[in-house]
Amino acid sequence: MGLTIIMQIYLPIAEVSVNAFLLLGLGGIVGVLSGMFGVGGGFLMTPLLFFIGIPPAVAVATEANQIVASSFSGVLAHLRRKTVDLRMGTVLLVGGLFGAALGVVLFNYLKSQGQVDLLVKLCYVVFLGVIGGMMFIESLRAIRSTRRGAAPKRKKHGWVHGLPFKMRFRTSGLYISVIPPLLVGVAVGVLAAIMGVGGGFIMVPAMIYLLGMPTKVVVGTSLFQIIFVTAFTTLLHATTNFTVDVALAVLLLVGGVIGAQFGTMIGTRMKAEQLRVLLALMVLVVCGKLAFDLLVMPSELYSIASGTGGH
C-alpha cells in the first residue's frame, strides 16, 4: 500500500504514532515564520502539537528543542549580515536564563494546583491580545504616515533613558540602562518555561517599543537570545520531566530549518512596517482562536490526565 501509510511514525518518548509528513509540514510553516519575524514560532507550534495528539508535557519540552534548531540557522544568516547586537543579546540572555529557572519553579507550582492548562491558555490570550493589538495599531499608523510622506518618528527619550547602569550598545546605536533589557530577558525566560515558546513574540515588540532598538537588529538579536534560553529550557525538561522527544524534534526541525531559510529571504525583501502588520495579524488570529476555545462549550466536558513519568 501507499507511501503515506509507511510514513506513519512512532515517537519513542511521546508514545504516539503520527504521520511524518504532517510533522515535516508543521515544522516548515513554523520555520518560515521564524525566519521572517524572528519569532521562535513556538506560540503556534505548541498548540498545533496539542491538536495532533502529542501529550502537552512532551509538546512543550520538545518544542524548546526544535526552536533551538530553527533559530540556529536563522541566527547564522543574521550574523553574516551583521544584524545581531551581541552585547544587547548577552544582557537579554543573562535575564533569560534566570527567568527560565524561575519559570520552571512556577510551572511546577501551577501543576500541583491542577489548573496549569487554563492558566497557560489565559496567559496566551492576554499576552497575544495586548501585544498583537498594540503592534497592529502602531504599524498601521506607521504605514499611513510614510505614505503621506512624513518622516517616521525618531527615538523617543522616555523613562527608560532615566535609569542608572547605562551601557553603550553600538550595533543598536543606543546608550541606555541595562535594567530594562535585563527585565525583558527575565520575562521572556519565564514565558519560555511556562508556555513552551521561544518568547520572540514578546521580545520583538519590547525591543522595538520599550528599548527603542532599530527593527533591523531586533530579529537577529532576539533569535540569539532565544537559542540559549530554549537550549537551557530543553535541558531542564530533559533532566526533570523526561519529556524531550528527539525523534519528534528532528522531524519538526528538518521542516523548520528549510522553512527558516525561505523566511529570512522573504523577510529581507519586505518593509519593516509590512512585516510588523503581518506578525500582528498572526498574533491576533492565534489569540482569537484560543479565546474562542475558552468561551465556547467544548464537545467533551471531561478530559483524562494520566501521569507521564513523574506523578
Binding site: 506513519q8 512512532y10 519513542p12 508514545e15 487554563l118 530533559a238 468561551l295 483524562i304 490526565a305 494520566s306
Partner: protein
Amino acid sequence: MLRLGLLLCLVALPLRAEEVVLGLSKDRVAITATFEGSDILIFGAVKREAPIPEVPLDVVITVSGPSKPVTVRRKERRFGIWINTAAVDLDAAPTFYAVATSGPLDQVLTETEDLRHRVSIPRAIRSVGAASMAEDAGRFTDALIRIRERKDAYQLLENAVALDEQTLFRTAISLPANLTEGAYATRIFLTREGRVVSQFETVIDVRKVGLERWLFTLSRQQPLAYGLMSLAIAIAAGWAASAAFRVLRRT
C-alpha cells in the same frame, strides 16, 4: 510422588474437565519507529476427557495493557469561560483493554462472575476511592470509557469470537498504534450458562525495540546526556541546512 498426587487430584477434579489449549499468532509485539498497530490472532481448542456437555459453551477473551492511575477532570462554565472544576482520581485503569466474546456479554457472563473476574470494561477499571471525591463519580468513569473507546484503546467486541463444534475458537484483536509498552495480560474464560467453567491466562509482551528502545532508555537513565545529544542533533541540523542553502544559492 507429591507432584504425581497433585496431578491425579487435578485430573480427578470435575471442574477441570475442560481445559484451554491456546495459540497466539505472536506473543511479542515489537514497537519500532514505523509501528502502526498490530493484529493479534488468538486461537485455541478446548481439551476434554469427557463427552461434550449438553449446555452450549461460550468463550470470553480479554487483553489488558498495563494499568495506571488516571485523573478525570470535568469542565464547567465559570466567569464565562470553561474551567476544570471537578476531578476524580481512578486508582488504576488499563491503558488498553479489549473484551471479545462468542455472544452478547450479558448472556455469556453473569453479573457475579463479571464482578469476580473483572471482565467487562467498567469492571476492569479500579476506582475504590472515586465515590468519595464526587457525588457522580460514575459519570467520570463513563467519560473515561467513552474517550478511550473513541481512540480504540477500549474495545468491546461482542460475537467476535468464532466457536466451532464447541471446541475450536479464534478471534483477532487489533492493537492500535498508540500503545504503551508492558505486559499485556491475556485471559480466556470458558463459560456455561454465564458461569466460568475454565480459565486460562498468558501474557503478550509489548516492547520498544532498536532505536526506539535505545532512545527511551537513554532519556530515563542518562537524561543529561540525552538532553545534550538532542541539542547537538538540533544544532547540527540547523547549521547543516543553513550551509547547504548557502552553497545552493551560490551555484
